[in-house]
């Protein structure tokens, strides 16, 4: 699979502070989550990708264009939704989206038509004729999203797209991103602190910390646990089964959802489990390896970093 973005040894310093340190990564088509604690370098990485800041070292390509030299071409193909509560004052919602379309090069009349279409798609109705300054946070988020996609970009960079949205609007916005990526072949990089958003929508994850890439992989791969823990569920009598397994020498623990988390190291352990259950008449519904949650992945990446520092 060809990569949309390739960065090689990118380094960016702000005076003496190193914002990005030797960042090398590839971003494939699809939806990628960009995670990291505050000050990890996410915003700097986004600015580098859009060609807004010059790097001190390294090279790379974005959508086939060279970083640092072809910023305009890159930005023509990228739709960026900033994190900040930013808007263009003195404009209504429709004017702001039309203005964004014109800045991207869409002719004025077409820009107005397209702005209406996109605002319909984003669920902004009659409010589009009101001044942006009077919008709620959620409305501004939707308008910013509309402004980011109005020129039909190939690649979306969404910085905290769901912050300030209620659960219903949050789900609706994520759905729009899904539609764009699945039906229209767009790709997206979503920088967020809301980990469930990443879990629900992203195919790839990049975790940054202290300007370095800690994790960059497919989410499905990261979710696979390296441990020997399994999750066992029974049709009924989970509590009795847990007590019996502990008595039989298994390291088993009953979970709040009535599943049993137990360690199975060898093939003999699996055989012993099947035999025991059969003898005791416990009907097994499922036995699956434990999965790492995105929270665990994130914390492991960050803690690994702090351990390395200490």
């Amino acid at each position: 699979m060809s990569h949309l973005i390739e960065l090689r040894n990118i380094q960016k310093n702000y005076h003496r502070m190193m914002a990005l340190c030797d960042v090398s990564l590839s971003i494939s088509p699809g939806i990628t989550g960009l995670l990291g604690p505050n000050g990890a370098g996410k915003s700097t990485l986004i600015k580098v990708l859009m060609g807004l800041v010059k790097t001190n070292k390294g090279s790379g390509t974005v959508l086939g264009y060279e970083l640092g030299k072809q910023g305009r071409q890159i930005r023509a193909l990228v739709g960026y939704m900033p994190e900040d509560d930013c808007y263009i004052t003195g404009m209504t919602g429709i004017e702001m989206v039309r203005f964004s379309a014109c800045l991207a090069g869409i002719p004025t009349v077409e820009a107005l038509r397209r702005a209406h279409e996109i605002l319909d798609f984003c669920g902004v109705h009659q409010e589009r004729y009101r001044s942006v300054e009077g919008y709620s946070t959620g409305m501004r988020q939707k308008t910013k999203f509309a402004a980011a996609i109005v020129h039909d970009p190939q690649f979306l960079i969404l910085d905290e797209p769901t912050s300030g949205l209620d659960p219903e609007e949050r789900e609706a916005l994520l759905n729009r991103v899904r539609i764009l990526c699945q039906r229209f072949g767009k790709s997206a990089l979503i920088s967020t602190h809301i980990l469930p958003d990443v879990q629900s929508i992203c195919e790839h994850v990049i975790i940054l910390s202290n300007g370095k890439v800690r994790v960059a992989d497919r989410l499905a791969t990261l979710n696979q646990s390296n441990s020997n823990f399994q999750v066992l569920t029974f049709v009924d009598n989970a509590q009795q089964a847990a007590q019996w397994l502990v008595a039989d020498g298994f390291a088993a623990e009953l979970q709040p959802d009535n599943s049993i988390r137990l360690a199975l190291d060898t093939a003999e352990d699996f055989d012993r489990l099947w035999k025991s259950c059969n003898e005791q008449g416990f009907i097994v519904r499922s036995l699956t390896p434990t999965r790492n949650s995105i929270e665990e992945i994130f914390m492991a990446a960050i803690q690994g970093e702090s351990h390395a520092h200490s």
Binding site: Y14, K47, M50, L52, V53, R72, Q73, R75, A76, V78, Y80, P82, D84, D85, C86, Y87, I88, T89, G90, M91, E95, F99, S100, C102, L103, A104, G105, I106, P107, E110, R114, H116, E117, I118, D120, F121, H125, E133, K144, A147, A148, I149, H151, D152, R176, I179, L180, R183, F184
Partner: protein, 355 residues
């Protein structure tokens, strides 16, 4: 709900040229400025002085072409003769020309430097006289009514132009588009520049064309061909430093009222200080034997007033100020101010992406 929701549709139409992308910012800015009732009123008010100057041009051409009975009477009284030589619609007599100059001077007595009209009449060539009188009128038009309206209009429209973007953090919305910081700046500069063109260059050119239409024949074009260039120069001398300085003030704060205050303070205080120096010395310059040294003294101090500094260069462009060396400090100050303002402004608008 939309009547016909077409959902998301890809876009594959033609795009506008990169080179004209900055004009989008200008268009939006001008449209936004015109939403203000006060800006609309100021624009309308800015066009009113053209009526007065248009009437003056009309009177001058009429007097040159068809001397009124009043002028003829005055001429007869001064020359002591009924003889009046008028050939092919042009005055050939020196006294009659002086009478016309006096008439004009009376009409424009409220404007300074109106003695330039008498000087114009001293020339024995109607073509030179016309050139000088038109230059005077255009210079006065740009210097006084339009100069003051420029001050007001810039104070109304420029302060929020960048400070609003600073406050609402809109820079990333601009810079994430395929435009450069320089194009953003060009688009912003062109907002006040285009409005100021509308109240300075356009009416001044209109005045010039009006004069041409009233002229006896097309040879007047050859006599006055340089005036449009002088108008462009005088307009540029005013607009470039004014736009850059006012935008710099706007970029320095999130509060547009502070930028507006700084703008009016620079103009107002500078002009007041200069007038406090100029007015007491004005009489001495006229009467005293050492008038020239007093004039030099006041002209040196004219640099404290941006309004006066621009005016001096404009006067030189229209030939009212003969000595180039005397306006070099003013010209240098405007150039330095423009360059420094531009560099600082560029640095300010680059700041949001540097962090």
């Amino acid at each position: 709900m939309p009547i016909h929701d077409v959902g998301y549709r890809p876009w594959s139409g033609p795009l506008t040229n990169n080179l004209t992308r900055w004009w989008t910012i200008t268009e939006a800015g001008v449209a936004s400025a015109f939403k203000s009732r006060w800006v609309r009123r100021a624009m309308l008010l800015s066009w009113l002085p053209i009526l007065n100057f248009g009437f003056a041009v009309f009177m001058f051409e009429k007097m040159m072409d068809q001397p009124t009975n009043e002028i003829l009477g005055e001429f007869s009284y001064q020359s002591g003769s009924d003889a009046f030589e008028e050939v092919a619609g042009e005055l050939k007599d020196e006294v009659a020309r002086q009478v016309i100059a006096q008439e004009l001077q009376e009409q424009f007595a409220f404007l300074p430097e109106s003695n330039a009209l008498v000087d114009a009449a001293a020339t024995n060539d109607n073509r030179v006289m016309r050139h000088q009188v038109w230059s005077y009128m255009l210079a006065m038009f740009l210097r006084y009514p339009q100069g003051v309206m420029t001050l007001l209009l810039v104070g109304l429209i420029v302060p929020p132009l960048i400070s609003r973007d600073v406050r609402s953090r809109a820079f990333l919305l601009y810079y994430s588009r395929p435009i450069t910081r320089m194009e953003y700046l060009m688009g912003k500069i062109a907002i006040p520049a285009s409005l100021l063109f509308l109240i300075t260059l356009v009416p001044a050119m209109g005045l010039y064309l009006f004069g041409l239409m009233l002229s006896p024949d097309l040879t007047v074009i050859f006599d006055t061909w340089d005036l449009p260039f002088r108008i462009v120069g005088a307009t540029a001398v005013c607009i470039i430093p004014v736009c850059l300085l006012s935008l710099l003030f706007s970029s320095l704060t999130e509060e547009s009222r502070f930028a507006g205050f700084a703008w009016f303070a620079v103009w107002g205080l500078g002009t007041v200080v200069w007038l406090m120096i100029y007015i007491p010395n004005q009489g001495q310059m006229m009467a005293n034997s050492n008038g020239q040294s007093v004039a030099d003294f006041t002209s040196n101090w004219s640099l404290v007033s941006l309004y006066s500094t621009i005016g001096r260069v404009q006067f030189w462009l229209f030939g009212l100020e003969k000595d180039f060396m005397s306006i070099v400090p003013s010209l240098a100050m405007l150039v330095v101010m423009s360059v420094v303002s531009f560099a600082w402004l560029y640095r300010r608008i680059s700041a949001p992406v540097r962090i």
